[in-house]
């Protein structure tokens, strides 16, 4: 191989790998990202059943019901609309009534949000940013901005 051919082989190979990597990234950005929705978004926009979303809001007081086999039901509210959420597993340590929460999962045909992940705040000063902003939009935010 001549010097030029060698260089072209290497540049061509590199180009192919980078193109493949970019294609993967584009596909993944189209399909694998999860949008954040508030209960009001869900009420208004009718998110299709089966699409993964993140639902955030406050855990409505008095709505936590514990069922058998580590299954729990609770309602997430942004003070205008609420969504019933079910989750099977261990809730985060800081999951409490009236506190901010972010859940990830899909909406079942019966309208219940089936979460496979529940995130609560990491420390007492933290409310998930998305939740804080969704609440600010509704004009119900009290407390300091993050």
């Amino acid at each position: 191989m001549t010097r030029k051919q060698r260089r072209l082989t290497i540049i061509g190979g590199a180009g192919a790998v980078l193109a493949a990597a970019l294609a993967l990234i584009m596909v993944a950005l189209n399909d694998q990202i999860v949008f954040f929705q508030s209960p009001t978004d869900i009420a208004q926009e009718a998110v299709p059943h089966g699409q993964r979303i993140r639902l955030g809001g406050l855990v409505e007081a008095g709505t936590i019901e514990r069922h058998e086999n580590a299954t729990v039901y609770f309602r997430v509210t942004d003070t205008e609309n609420t969504v019933t959420v079910t989750y099977t597993g261990i809730l985060p340590d800081l999951f409490r009534e009236g506190q901010g929460v972010v859940t990830e999962g899909v909406i079942r045909p019966d309208g219940v949000f089936e979460a496979d992940t529940v995130l609560a705040k990491h420390d007492e000063n933290y409310i998930p940013v998305e939740v804080a902003e969704a609440l600010k939009d509704k004009g119900h935010w009290q407390g300091e901005a993050q």
């Binding site: 191989m1 010097r3 060698r6 082989t9 290497i10 190979g13 590199a14 790998v17 980078l18 493949a20 990597a21 993967l24 990234i25 596909v27 993944a28 950005l29 399909d31 694998q32 990202i33 999860v34 949008f35 954040f36 993140r54 514990r66 058998e68 086999n69 580590a70 099977t88 597993g89 261990i90 809730l91 340590d93 800081l94 990830e104 990491h122 420390d123 007492e124 933290y126 998930p128 940013v129 998305e130 902003e133 993050q146």
Partner: protein
């Protein structure tokens, strides 16, 4: 008083960084011996001053001096002694002080051991290190001073975030920072080379031990952080593709690429421009990581405090260093002459392949980490990029790379023979096929990918052993003489084989613990038993207990196999009283390499409790593999051909006639 001395030492350090930033660099350009000569002593003086600062802050923590704001916010008189010490870096200001301490420590190392570096290179490198130090010390003094006092000192402190009250915290940040910040030296070397407009194979040989050192610590730091998250968060996962984890993983990927391209530069004088660029990228990613973690753009256990002024300050530093170094690169890199031709199928070609895939993977992780932030800033739309994204992008990029790993060290320089290399790997390939089939046979056809993953891991492990075996030519000369040759192999060969073996071990742990784990989530009453992968787990009951600064409910579990008790597990729910902060402590029992993992949910009124129990086969291999990688880096550093930092005349002579028959790398 001692606190004020610490503060004063920090201010004095800033003054010294200003001198260090200008004088030696000017001296290096003008080739003025006297100006260059100040670099080393100043670098050591800066280290001593920052050390004094650090000791002063540690003293304030030990004495529980709550008139210091930082101590008041993050400590408590009832905290155990070890957490009073580790609490020094368990907060924003203290962790920055540790960052700067390591930064100046590396500078001092170059000043102390760099006697055999060319004087202009050493002076310019220390000067550039001075720029970075100046930026960060100014950042501390202006926005994050750990020595601020508060009037009317409170009687009691606020205690440390309980998640951080763990022995993991004692180890994880220092290891990670030595890694992160260690890449600053490589960066300084690269920028110094650009300033001087001169770079050669010797440069790569000087830089490689520093890169190896930083890489070794970063590997251990990431691994440690992963294990810490695994047992402390109680979620059973060991890697979440959390932006904070990515922040440390990106410099690791780029640093790994740099480690490999520096070999090409050192041996073959090729890829110079690329290696310099990688050195700049790697430290830039470290800085980006610091920005992401410390600015509060991300909310996580690592975002200690949120203050917009700090975020802006770090962002400005970030732009200055990255923008400045890249502009310098664009201006000066054309001066660097390229050398060393090679065929695509050669050792160089394999290392380029490695760099290509590692860089592409770094870009994938970077996009996944920054895209949600960028989208939020531009459109205000909130999204989350989680494991599915990374599994789809990072995963496929790793597969060809792992398949190629055994080939790299076996191909010859310049022009390699793929067929001959394949012949040497027959045994490794056979083993990989064998393990794939055995896994298929054991688990059936319902999991197709897992046996292939096991095969890939075995391929990498066996391939790294094959490399050593073929190099000592056991087949031709027999075991006795082969063993003698084994001892004569250069450290870097052992390093390569050990680190590659470690990659295989980690991959095996990831595949088996993900594909074959057994997870049970249920509510258990006292006396209930659940089967987890053949182990009978019995819940005996819940009992309250009390620690130094917390109260807890401890769950008692007995693990039996075939009726025989093999372990007792005591996972607990803790409440740290000072902050009223609950945490979950997982109960973990290790069975050779596998683990049984139990974590608790909220207790119910009738005495039952939610339980999550896992059997994770071979999961410890994930972390054991990283130990092999770190050990590989140590072997490589011990290679006498690389020991340029050591002040030994012998090593020096060894280097100057480096053209003499170097054993095949």
């Amino acid at each position: 008083m001692i606190v004020e001395i610490g503060h004063y030492a920090l201010v004095l350090t800033f003054a010294l960084t200003l001198i260090q930033s200008v004088v030696p660099v000017y001296g290096a350009i003008k080739e003025d011996e006297r100006l260059m000569a100040i670099a080393s002593p100043v670098s050591m003086a800066m280290f001593l001053l920052v050390l004094l600062s650090f000791i002063a802050l540690t003293y304030a923590y030990l004495a529980s001096d709550f008139s210091v704001q930082n101590v008041w916010e993050n400590s408590h008189s009832a905290k155990p002694l070890i957490y009073k010490i580790t609490g020094v870096w368990g907060n924003h200001e203290g962790s920055l002080l540790l960052w700067v301490l390591i930064l100046v420590f590396f500078g001092a190392l170059v000043g102390f051991f760099g006697a055999n570096l060319p004087a202009p290179l050493r002076a310019a490198t220390l000067g550039v290190q001075g720029w970075v130090t100046a930026g960060f010390v100014l950042f501390m003094l202006a926005t994050s001073n750990p020595f601020n006092r508060i009037p009317n000192a409170p009687m009691e402190g606020n205690d440390l975030n309980p998640l951080l009250q763990d022995i993991g915290l004692a180890i994880h940040p220092p290891l990670l920072y030595i890694g992160y910040v260690g890449f600053s030296i490589t960066f300084s070397f690269a920028v110094a080379a650009l300033i001087l407009g001169r770079i050669d194979a010797a440069w790569a040989r000087w830089v490689r031990p520093w890169t190896l050192l930083a890489w070794c610590f970063l590997t251990l730091g990431i691994s440690m952080g992963s294990y810490w998250a695994y047992y402390e968060l109680g979620w059973g996962g060991w890697w979440f593709w959390d932006p904070v984890e990515n922040a440390s993983f990106m410099p690791w990927l780029a640093g790994t690429a740099m480690l490999h391209s520096a070999i090409v530069m050192e041996k073959r004088d090729a890829l110079k421009v690329w290696t310099v660029l990688l050195a700049i990228f790697t430290f830039s990613l470290s800085l980006l990581g610091t920005f992401l973690v410390r600015s509060g753009v991300l909310t996580s256990v690592h975002a200690f405090a949120v203050d917009p002024a700090r975020g802006v300050f770090i962002l400005v530093l970030l732009c200055l260093f990255i923008g400045g170094s890249l502009s310098l690169y664009a201006w000066r890199a054309p001066l660097l002459k390229q050398g060393g031709l090679f065929a695509p199928m050669s050792r160089e070609g394999a290392l380029v392949f490695n760099n290509l895939f590692l860089t592409a993977a770094t870009v994938a992780v970077l996009v996944g980490t920054l895209y949600p932030l960028a989208l939020d800033a531009v459109t205000g739309e909130k999204i989350s990029v989680g494991p599915p994204f990374f599994n789809l992008t990072f995963g496929p990029l790793m597969i060809p790379l792992l398949m190629a790993v055994p080939y790299g060290p076996i191909l010859a320089w310049k022009r390699g023979d793929l067929l001959a290399a394949t012949q040497r790997l027959y045994a490794a390939f056979g083993l990989a096929i064998l393990f794939t089939l055995v896994t298929f046979w054991m688990w059936g056809m319902d999991r197709v990918l897992a046996p292939l993953g096991v095969g890939l891991a075995v391929w990498v492990m066996a391939g790294s052993i094959a490399e050593i075996v073929t190099r000592v030519k056991v087949a031709e000369i027999g075991f006795g003489r082969g063993f003698a040759r084994l001892k004569g192999l250069p450290g870097s060969a052992w390093g390569t084989a050990t680190a590659h073996f470690g990659i295989g071990v980690t991959v095996l742990g990831i595949v088996t613990s993900t594909a074959f784990q057994d997870e049970k989530v249920l509510t258990m009453a006292p006396g209930d038993t659940v089967d987890v992968s053949g182990y009978a787990l019995t819940f005996d009951g819940l009992a309250p207990s009390r620690g130094a600064n917390y109260v807890e409910d401890v769950g008692h579990f007995t693990v039996r196999k075939g009726g025989v008790v093999i372990a007792e597990l005591e996972p607990s729910k803790r409440l740290y009283t000072a902050r009223q902060f609950p945490t979950t402590e997982a109960g973990i029992h290790t069975l050779v390499l596998s683990q049984i993992y139990v974590s608790l949910g909220e207790p119910r009124d009738n005495g039952s409790i939610d339980v999550r129990a896992y059997y994770k086969p071979l999961i410890t291999l994930i972390w054991i593999g990283t130990l092999f990688m770190a050990l590989g880096a140590v072997f490589s550093m011990a290679d006498r051909r690389l020991r340029v930092g050591a002040p030994k005349p012998a090593a020096r002579r060894d280097r100057t006639d480096g053209a003499a028959p170097a054993p095949a790398e």
